[in-house]
């Protein structure tokens, strides 16, 4: 499929990314000390690191929830350095699908409406929105619980709704932050299988942020982060050099 070499397209480019907090204050703290990596279309990448390694900070930067202190970040060849807040919102909406450890479904709002939310912000008409939300919930095996409120769903079910939501605007990448962290191993397995399925069958690029090397082993490419630097790379680079 897309692992044939020249067809590979760089969809994310991070060049010497630094991120510091409390800049100019006595407690200034640099978390990322120069991260460079590319992510190619269709990859299933895991970013592994212990807590405090900077992987969450990296995820926030990739997800455009935060801006790097220095360095260059391109998403589908768009340099986001000078983007305004509203432009960042738009890029998040269109190109990034978030899956959180704590699901973050909007309360008192049923599964269908939760999945519709990113499409609502994209300004999609109601009928189209609903149709796509139904399709996505079916894709994650939740078609029988579309009208359920988040409170009425189990953890694994919530996470599947969240995954359906992340796919709403057919994003460039799905960014999953410890998606199985709050689940037992059995439901965690279901969720991981879903990511594999999305990657294989839909060709979705998935970035999995995790502390678990066991989960990371499942992915085709592993990037290890430690103390704000990439300390290991496995898999992915092979098919970059072609």
């Amino acid at each position: 499929m897309n692992q044939t070499g020249e067809m590979q397209k760089k969809i994310l480019q991070l060049q010497d990314i630094h991120k510091a907090f409390y800049i100019g204050k006595p407690n200034e703290l640099e978390i990322l000390h120069g991260i460079s990596m590319d992510v190619f279309d269709g990859q299933f990448v895991s970013v592994v690191g212990a807590s405090g390694s900077g992987k969450t900070t990296l995820m926030n930067l990739i997800g455009l929830l935060d801006r790097p202190t220095s360095g260059k970040y391109l998403i589908e060849d768009i340099d986001v350095e000078d983007a305004t807040d509203d432009e960042l919102s738009y890029i998040r909406n269109q190109k990034i699908g978030f899956v959180f450890q704590t699901y973050n479904l909007v309360a008192k709002t049923n599964a269908l409406k939760n999945v519709e939310l990113p499409m609502l912000y994209a300004g999609m008409p109601a009928g189209e929105r609903r149709e796509r939300a139904e399709y996505l919930l079916e894709l994650v095996g939740m078609s029988d619980r579309m009208k359920h409120m988040p409170e009425e769903l189990s953890g694994g079910q919530k996470q599947r709704v969240a995954i359906a939501r992340s796919l709403a605007n057919d994003p460039t990448i799905v960014l999953a932050d410890e998606p199985t962290g709050a689940l037992d191993s059995k439901t965690g397995r279901v969720v991981m299988d879903l990511f594999h399925k999305l990657n294989k069958e839909q060709g979705k690029t998935v970035i999995l942020i995790t502390h678990s090397t066991e989960l990371a082993e499942e992915t085709e490419r592993i990037v290890t982060i430690s103390d704000g630097l990439i300390t290991g790379e496995r898999g992915g680079s092979n098919h970059v050099i072609s």
Binding site: L65, D86, S89, Y90, F100, A107, T109, L117, Y121
Partner: protein
């Protein structure tokens, strides 16, 4: 962002906290309902006043004998209807004489259209076969018909010669004719009618039938029970029957274009001249225009006072809305972070929360309007007026509620909009 979706989200969030939403609305409800209630009462009052003015005549000035009480302020004395407390032995000599009236007419011929004097004889019952109708026999001067805008249905008015001859003629109401003579007005003219009054049988020849109107003032004073209609006889005839000569009160009808207020004070000054030597009585005047003016002023003051209270209630209510919105966004920090991650712009978050505040205020305002109309209607009914809610103030109140929502919702909404998505997502 889509307008309807924002409303839907706001309603969803309010439904999740119904009690809290209602308590938040209370301030708005109290504020708006008091404004609407007072507006309804005010509106009803002015509608009723203009009705009374039409039936009584805005140019009429009432002149009456009153006790000399130095502390009585003439403005406060506005609502006395010309009756004199008879317990204090007011003799015939204390009253206003024909001579005084004649002189008054002569000296004010430029501004006085007519004088309306009356003499109540007695209430009685007129019978015809099995039917009967109660009447108040009342002697009236020529000017009475002008002052009270009496309209004829058949026959003619009591004439000057009827008056000077003190003849036994009368005018009856159309209602009496309807009750007794099957509504045949023309045939009633010329008919002799008799009744028992003043311990004798009085017989009058009907010269005219007038159109009866139950005025607002009558229904207020008399109540809903039927007390019959007036049977007008010449004033001179009435005076003969009651053996009285003079007047405790009468009405002056000003000429068109004459300011009733100024006429009232001039007439008062003029007639008070006759009472300078009287130890305990004098003359006072009252005009409908003065009453309307003083009631309008009073209503204005009450409206202002209640508006200020309502304004304070709305301010407090608005602060309540702001407070609850701040609580709400704190509770929903994670949700805000999630929405931002999903692509909500700061603007759409801001609009979402402003919409929520506006919906709270609008619902509160609508409840307030409904409650206000009910309270106003009850108050107007208690005061004896027909309730007429003011459409302008209803629309105004709803718009104002929305404005409160925008004003007090902006700060919390802006706070939500400016949240850092990372911190918001991680908020516990």
């Amino acid at each position: 962002m889509l307008f309807l979706e924002n409303i839907r989200m706001a309603v969803t969030s309010l439904k999740a906290n119904k009690t809290r939403a209602f308590l938040t609305m209370l301030g708005i409800i109290i504020g708006i309902s008091s404004v609407i209630a007072i507006m309804t009462v005010g509106n009803s009052l002015s509608a009723s006043l203009s009705d009374s003015m039409q039936s009584m005549g805005a140019n009429n000035v009432e002149v009456y004998i009153t006790r000399k009480t130095p502390e009585i302020d003439e403005k406060e004395n506005g609502i006395v209807f010309g009756t004199v407390d008879r317990s204090k032995k007011i003799t015939e000599d204390d009253l206003i004489t024909d001579e005084m009236i004649t002189n008054l007419l002569k000296d004010f011929e430029d501004s006085i259209e007519a004088i309306s004097a009356t003499e109540d004889v007695e209430s009685s019952v007129v019978k015809s076969g099995t039917e009967s109708a109660s009447v108040s026999v009342m002697g009236v001067s020529q000017g009475y018909f002008v002052a009270n805008n009496v309209k004829l249905k058949a026959g003619s008015q009591i004439s000057a010669s009827d008056a000077s001859g003190a003849r036994n003629v009368c005018m009856v109401s159309d209602q009496l004719v309807d009750d007794l003579y099957d509504g045949d007005y023309e045939a009633t003219v010329g008919r002799q009618i008799s009744m028992e009054a003043l311990n004798q049988t009085l017989t009058f020849t009907v010269v005219g039938v007038y159109e009866y109107h139950k005025t607002q003032m009558e229904s207020m004073l008399v109540g809903s029970g039927s007390s019959g209609t007036n049977l007008y006889i010449p004033l001179t005839t009435a005076k003969r029957l009651t053996h009285s000569r003079n007047y405790a009160y009468f009405d002056v009808v000003g000429k068109t274009g004459v300011d009733p207020d100024r006429l009232a004070s001039k007439v008062k000054t003029y007639l008070q001249g006759y009472y300078r030597s009287n130890a305990y009585l004098t003359v006072d005047t009252f005009s409908m225009a003065t009453m309307v003016e003083s009631m309008t002023t009073m209503m204005g003051t009450i409206t202002l006072a209640i508006s200020i209270i309502a304004g304070i209630a709305l301010l407090v209510g608005g602060i309540g809305v702001m407070n609850i919105m701040l609580v709400s966004i704190t509770e929903r920090t994670r949700e805000i972070g999630t929405r931002k991650a999903l692509g909500a712009t700061n603007g759409s978050i801001r609009i979402q929360f402003i919409t929520e505040a506006m919906i709270i205020c609008l619902i509160g305002g609508a409840i307030g309007v409904g409650l206000g109309i009910v309270m106003g209607a009850v108050a107007a009914k208690a005061l004896g007026y027909a309730a007429s809610p003011s459409i302008g103030s209803i629309i105004g109140s709803l718009v104002f509620s929305l404005a409160i929502g925008v004003f007090f919702g902006y700060y919390p909404a802006n706070k939500a909009a400016k949240m850092n998505p990372i911190e918001a997502l991680r908020y516990e």
